[in-house]
Symmetry: C2
Subunit: 253 residues, 2 copies
């Protein structure tokens, strides 16, 4: 008997940002596999087994999930944000690619979720209203040279830049180096947002500029957005401004 | 009396990919504003007014919604995909920026949704597992030179590239020009996906390579994904292959 594997995005935090398809899949699962803090965010169903793991062990977690599914389980792999965006979907398909041939015959479903980038955007206005890129600064999965090359190209493209995993333990200086690089090729007044733990109790948003930003405030729960030349604040009396990247380019110049 | 304005993402199509927060906001709305095909996808609540408009009239639609909210309505602006990603959120904030001072005092909430890019990714594997960019080829909102510059920089960065609005009526040749440009700076074997109408009845996925791709099959309902140098197919016996961009970079070289 062959089971199924469903990779589920549970978004950044708030329960009413989880798509109903994810909830249905969680209800149907015999086994739920995930990083412990993500498992803590979802209700345990009666008779359901939970398999928690450390955040660093993504590939082990994926293999474990695939083995249970191959044995007949209906497995849900829980991912923060969107599983397709710097999250568990890639780990599962990497495990399949390198793993047992039987895994390629499995029924694998990905259920999308709200990524940290979208959550941040929703809270602060419309910073992603025009072309953008997403770059992970995560530690040891790629050479730092490729990060630098991508940041330079992103500045050359004048993309809005979303930085994921800005402050990994293995490379705490990465976010400082990224800001130093971007300060050399983007305007000082470029809007910057640090969006931490969006939709969780410790949510915190800091809006600033590239010149004034303190990269040290970014931790692993922070999504950093750096504007394009078109991104701007919309000031509001007595309230946090909105951040807008308009759909038009160069209209004001 | 001042009302509220909520900008809601209803995703690419299937109802169980709409976050519950969106459904709650639709239930509470006195007025729903949106492009007719999006309104057709949601149930009308008793006593609720609907304001349909043409797809080109985004800014007019945003102003109309803001005027109703300023008059005391609880307005839901319905957007396909994620309102923050090439959709209605930017139009609303542009209207606020250029509009009446009273609009800046409104309670505006953005409820995120599943974008076409995420829907495509979920259906075909994990193509967005590493750094990526999103570029709209939409017609008349930016000079074509900036599109070219961004495509070149995206190739230089070796991003996975998501092309939104690939075939607008005003510029049907855009997608052909984009492919010609990318063929000049990326490998012929680079995987390409055309993901059309994902999660709608006319869903259609074509997986191919940069050399073999026929850009003419992309219409306005198509999201085009072009891989990085790391993106690859995972072949499956008798099934559509999966597409994977691994989390590591350069590991196999």
């Amino acid at each position: 008997m062959t089971g199924t594997l469903t990779i589920i995005g549970i978004g950044p935090g708030q329960a009413d940002w989880i798509v109903p398809a994810a909830t249905v899949a969680l209800d149907a699962a015999t086994d739920v596999v995930g990083y412990q803090p993500y498992l803590d965010r979802i209700a345990q169903r009666p008779g359901q087994k939970r398999h928690a793991s450390d955040n660093r062990a993504e590939l082990d977690r994926a293999r474990h999930a695939l083995a249970i599914a191959t044995g007949g389980g209906r497995v849900a792999v829980v991912s923060g944000g969107d599983p397709g965006v710097f999250a568990m979907a890639a780990a599962v398909f990497e495990a399949i690619e390198a793993g047992e041939p039987a895994w390629r015959a499995l029924e694998v479903t990905v259920i999308p979720g709200i990524s940290a980038m979208q959550a941040a955007s929703a809270r602060i206005g419309a910073p992603l209203g025009h072309d953008f890129c997403a770059i992970s600064l995560s530690d040891n999965l790629k050479p730092w040279e490729i990060v630098q090359r991508r940041l330079r190209a992103a500045a050359e493209a004048d993309f809005v830049i979303a930085l994921f995993n800005p402050a990994s333990k293995a490379r705490p200086e990465g976010i400082h180096q990224a800001f130093a690089l971007l300060r050399g090729c983007k305007a000082a007044a470029t809007p910057v947002a640090f969006a931490r733990s969006i939709s969780r109790p410790d949510e915190r948003i800091v809006l600033t500029t590239l010149a004034d930003a303190d990269p040290a405030i970014a931790d692993m729960s922070t999504l950093v957005l750096i504007g394009s030349s078109e991104t701007r604040f919309i000031e509001r009396p007595g309230r946090q401004p909105w951040l807008l990247t308009p759909r038009t380019y160069g209209a004001g110049r």
